[in-house]
């Protein structure tokens, strides 16, 4: 019975998220990505730049904290193809926060796929699952794979919030 209630809550939450009219025009893909770290190792052959140690990456109102951030460039070596974060990943965007052990940021698509015990929180609301896709511009998240758990406070100010 409890599980059914939980499932219903998740379904409701996902429906809310899917119907969210708050989808903003994508802006993150065009904003500069500002990165600070203790060290950088750039490899011209692999076309990667690895930032290590207390990494802080900011893009617009989104801030990503992690142990290691690997930026991969395309064949030309000039265009961002992939941004991947390893270890203690924490994403903060307004009052929305996501954590996980690993994340892949698709800059063009405006989404971050989190795994490694991922959680997305907004206010008191919380969702967890095996893998969470965090939509940067649309302010919604989708949980995929494994067992989904959600804690929602319908009566709260953040009711129906979009963790």
């Amino acid at each position: 019975m409890k599980a059914m209630k939980r499932m219903a809550a998740v379904t409701a939450l996902l429906t809310l998220l899917a119907q969210s009219g708050l989808a903003a025009a994508p802006t993150h893909g065009k904003e500069p990505l500002k990165i600070k770290s203790n060290e950088l190792h750039a490899d011209n052959e692999k076309k990667t730049a690895t930032f290590e140690g207390s990494v802080v990456a900011r893009q617009g109102d989104l801030t990503l904290y992690t142990d290691k951030l690997v930026i991969s460039y395309g064949e030309s070596g000039k265009d961002l193809s992939k941004v991947e974060a390893f270890g203690h990943v924490r994403i903060v965007q307004g009052d929305r926060e996501a954590v996980g052990a690993h994340a892949v940021y698709d800059n063009k698509g405006g989404r971050i796929v989190l795994d490694g015990s991922p959680r997305v929180m907004q206010g008191k609301n919380l969702i967890t699952g095996k893998e969470i896709t965090y939509y940067v511009d649309e302010q919604r998240s989708v949980v995929t794979g494994g067992r989904v758990e959600a804690t929602i406070y319908p009566g709260e100010k953040d009711a129906g919030a979009k963790p």
């Binding site: 500069p32 500002k34 190792h41 730049a49 930032f51 930026i71 000039k78």
Partner: protein
């Protein structure tokens, strides 16, 4: 009368001779510690028959005791067939003949074949490791990238770069002007 005239002529000649200055030395003396001074020089460093780098300078002063050549207005080209060359210019440089290291200082600027520029107050080319190193702040600029950090270690063979205390700004493709 004739005697007085002779004395006057002699006196005039002596006075004019004293006024005439001795000619300046055409070549200035080198400082004591400098053994050879050359203009517009070119060094080439080869290892196992393969050219490693070319160095040109407007002026070079060789100090035999220190085994060092001080260079002015320097252009160092580090050659690498696979990753392309790196060109570095500087106001001054010291070339150590024993280690074959080149210490560049004053308005050091570099550019890699891939289009990455850097500037630094000083950079050292370490021949044994084939690295460009700088303990000071280095600023980088490439297509869609600006970056600064300290402790640069740039391996000129592999073009692998290590930098500490990094601040970088990456412009995504769509944001570039």
């Amino acid at each position: 009368m004739a005697v007085a005239g002779a004395i006057l002529v002699t006196a005039t000649i002596l006075i004019r001779m004293q006024r005439t200055k001795s000619p300046r030395l055409a070549i200035q003396k080198l400082p004591v510690q400098i053994d050879v001074s050359l203009q517009a020089i070119r060094f080439t460093e080869s290892r196992h028959g393969v050219k490693q780098w070319d160095l040109t300078a407007d002026r070079a002063e060789y100090d035999k005791n220190k085994g060092r050549t001080s260079l002015a207005r320097v252009n160092l080209t580090i050659l690498n067939s696979s990753a392309g060359e790196i060109r570095v210019t500087a106001d001054r440089a010291d070339y150590d003949h024993a280690s074959k290291n080149v210490s560049l200082s004053g308005n050091v600027q570099g550019k890699s074949a891939s289009g990455l520029h850097f500037t630094a107050p000083q950079v050292r080319y370490v021949a044994a490791r084939s690295t460009l190193e700088s303990p000071e702040k280095v600023n980088f600029r490439g297509e869609g990238l600006t970056m600064e950090g300290v402790g640069m270690e740039w391996h000129t063979k592999s073009h692998k770069l290590k930098l500490s205390k990094v601040e970088a700004e990456v412009q995504p493709e769509g944001a570039r002007r």
